[in-house]
Symmetry: C2
Subunit: 211 residues, 2 copies
């Protein structure tokens, strides 16, 4: 199918932003299709065309709602980062002395949920194999996880501190869920909290940590 053939198949609709409940439905359907396509094929092999086809709409409608493939990817992965909105409350709950533990528990709660883990692993896969996808993920992680944890710290160099902590937790994801190295892959979550919390606590609060 050529680009010009693709843009003529959506049937009659008004130009400009579609309104009303039916357009919201189409948008949601496109977003669900985008998540499924990116998860199944990865960033490289997914196109605005293939997303439109999976959603049963014209590729032009995908463009209309979300823009470029890069922007569709950003919208598709945003849902996976929604839980990080609760990070400030979770961190404010304990005192400064429990921040490391709170962060590790919060992170593990998400990753130990198979419904959340599948889409997250798909995002990691896309980011590792494609630089544009990596850029979208970097931006998303920066304005959700890192900004939200850094906002709760009283320490200087908050971003750098959170990145060191993120490195520890992302590496745990790589060994436990991606490579599935034993005994780490089968360790229970309390074991992980006990071993990792002091590391994250040090990065977030120790005066000796910094760039």
């Amino acid at each position: 199918m050529t680009p010009s053939a693709a843009s003529g198949a959506a049937g009659p609709r008004r130009r400009g932003r579609p309104a009303g409940p039916r357009s919201g439905e189409a948008r949601d359907r496109i977003l669900a299709a985008a998540r499924a396509e990116f998860a199944a094929r990865g960033y490289d092999s997914t196109s605005v065309r293939s997303i439109g086809k999976a959603a049963g709409v014209d590729a032009a409608l995908v463009h209309h709602y979300f823009g470029t493939k890069e922007q569709v990817f950003a919208a598709a992965i945003e849902l996976s980062f929604a839980p990080t909105r609760e990070l400030p409350d979770a961190l404010a709950g304990g005192g400064a002395g429990t921040r490391g533990e709170q962060v590790v528990r919060f992170f593990l709660r998400i990753w130990e949920d198979p419904d959340a883990r599948g889409p997250l692993l798909a995002i990691v896969r896309s980011a590792v194999s494609n630089e544009t996808a990596a850029g979208v993920l970097r931006h998303m992680v920066g304005r959700t996880v890192i900004a939200r944890v850094a906002g709760e710290l009283d320490a200087p160099d908050a971003e750098f501190r959170v990145q060191l902590a993120a490195a520890q937790l992302v590496g745990m994801v790589m060994l436990r869920y991606v490579l599935q190295v034993e005994p780490l892959a089968s360790a229970n979550t309390e074991t992980l909290v006990r071993n990792l919390a002091p590391t994250v606590q040090r990065y977030l609060t120790d005066p000796g940590v910094g760039p």
Copy 2:
């Protein structure tokens, strides 16, 4: 090309293991082609056929020297793990109190070398996107990095300890070289050593760490 068509193109050669310098040359050429193919296309899109074609030999000769695609991949990534042979000496050099720092410096020395980093990133890409490749990498990391560091520790649960340390360092790779998150991506190596060494030291030696 069909499988039967592929196996007839290598020209006359004796059955069984080829001998002499020319066969060693062919083996090296296949290995170099395999490394280049896996790096450029990833595990999924590389085949024994495509490796043979890139090396200018019959696919059957690739099979003859290395076996299945999985086994070719194992041989192709082995070279990237050769430097870990020096790990025991590097660790024995300092006392037990400097192990964390030695491990971080050793790891950074390899990853900061662009000639080593490219192939290593390609291996990470293959392992993240394909479970068979992940299994090969898990096995390779287990019998090189993890076995060699664990062999130098006097502590119980040496493997688990090294895996926690590896998680920290692999996560640093993900944020610094794959996602290129700032300021971590531009931090100098001494800054990384200062911040990460105490973490690795704790994992490798602290009596409170364990499964």
